[in-house]
């Protein structure tokens, strides 16, 4: 039976390779993606509209800011779902293993982590703050920041990491990120524009309309970064201990 299933796989694979011949050449200016009016509009106008050199950040945080906001909400909901499910299952069947092992932390690993965690954190802030000029942004910075807390949890134990970043504070920070994002959108709505129309912020900030968009994008990225940091860490803390928040990996 296992060998029989190889036949449809091979047929479909051959068909896919055959169909791949019709693809446009890689990077060709005649491909449909390059010829659509949208991309040429973005390439021509992002620099003028927002003064952000990195087009991807401009598109993500400004032109389709509504979409990105709900992506952040999806991340938030995913974290909350994991928390809710695991909390319930932890109560129902209390424990399969009766023992909690407290392994002593390794000397070399803890010293390396001592040296590296501040550097990782400053790197995550750098990634977040320079999303406009180089690749990066809120999501990447948040992930690196969450990884630094996970590293602390891995080298000592989960309690040490939770003492630095308690789980109830995690939830608050995650919510705060979304509120920051939506708050900037609402603020620009109250100032007379549309929802998430950052240019209106020039009324209260001492900068031009283009630079207002630039700075608002930074605020939005900070919101995304806060949410992602908190959710990544709480995801690890809950998954490794089945929601009980002690012992674990």
């Amino acid at each position: 039976m296992k060998n029989l299933s190889l036949i449809p796989v091979l047929i479909v694979g051959a068909l896919l390779v055959y169909a791949a011949q019709d693809f446009p050449e890689w990077g060709s200016p005649n491909s449909p993606a390059s010829q659509s009016p949208v991309s040429s509009h973005f390439i021509a106008n992002t620099g003028v509209d927002t003064e952000v050199p990195n087009m991807v950040t401009a598109v993500l945080a400004d032109y389709r800011g509504f979409d990105t906001m709900f992506e952040t909400v999806v991340v938030f909901i995913a974290g909350m779902a994991v928390l809710a499910i695991l909390k319930k299952s932890g109560k129902k069947n209390p424990r399969k293993r009766e023992f909690e092992v407290d392994a002593e932390p390794d000397l070399i690993v803890t010293n390396t982590v001592r040296l590296l965690v501040p550097v990782i954190q400053i790197f995550s802030f750098y990634v977040l703050a320079h999303g406009h000029v180089s690749p990066g942004g809120g999501f990447q910075g948040g992930v690196v920041m969450g990884a630094s807390f996970i590293l602390i949890a891995l080298s000592w134990d989960l309690d040490t990491a939770l003492a630095r970043f308690p789980l109830d504070r995690c939830t608050v920070v995650a919510g705060l990120g979304i509120i920051l994002y939506a708050g900037i959108g609402l603020l620009s709505m109250f100032l007379g524009g549309e929802f998430l129309d950052y240019a209106e912020l020039a009324n209260i900030l001492p900068v031009s309309r283009e630079m207002a968009r630039y700075h608002a994008m930074l605020g939005v990225e900070i919101g995304v970064g806060l949410t992602v940091t908190a959710i990544m860490f709480s995801l690890y803390a809950n998954l490794s201990t089945e929601g009980r928040l002690k012992g674990g990996l």
Partner: protein, 134 residues
């Protein structure tokens, strides 16, 4: 390169320009090739050595030095002038080397410890001799 030129004029311009300082570039080429030679040692060791612990010696050492040499070589090759910007780039690349200097021995030690504590890994010379004969 042709297609890249068509799509990204900025990138293509930078590629065409591609400056550099000749004597520094020669040193950079030499360092890069030296790094490749040491990495060849690692690669051959990974295939040829008989058991996990000896392979660990090959991987843990050759990896650090070859990466260091190659990155240093590229830092010299890409240096265009002695302005502040290019110096910062060199410092940044050397920062990677510094981080690797700290992290590589740590991960080697962590894997070694894990293998040592796992019961399934033999350590005696007799086992090694057996494997050599095979």
């Amino acid at each position: 390169m042709i297609h890249v030129q068509a799509v990204l004029p900025v990138v293509a311009e930078a590629v065409d320009k591609g400056g550099g300082i000749f004597p520094l570039q020669l040193i950079g080429f030499a360092l890069g090739v030296l790094g490749l030679v040491f990495f060849l040692g690692t690669a051959v060791g990974m295939i040829r050595f008989p058991d996990f612990y000896t392979r660990m010696h090959a991987a843990g050492k050759g990896d650090t030095l070859s990466t260091m040499l190659m990155l240093a070589g590229f830092a010299l090759v890409t240096m265009e002038d002695f302005s502040l910007g290019s110096w910062l780039l060199v410092v940044k690349i050397m920062a990677i080397v510094l981080f690797l200097y700290i992290t590589c021995p740590t991960s080697t030690h962590a894997l070694m410890r894990a293998a040592f504590e796992d019961d399934e890994m033999p350590l005696e010379e007799k086992d090694l001799a057996k494997r050599k004969k095979k």
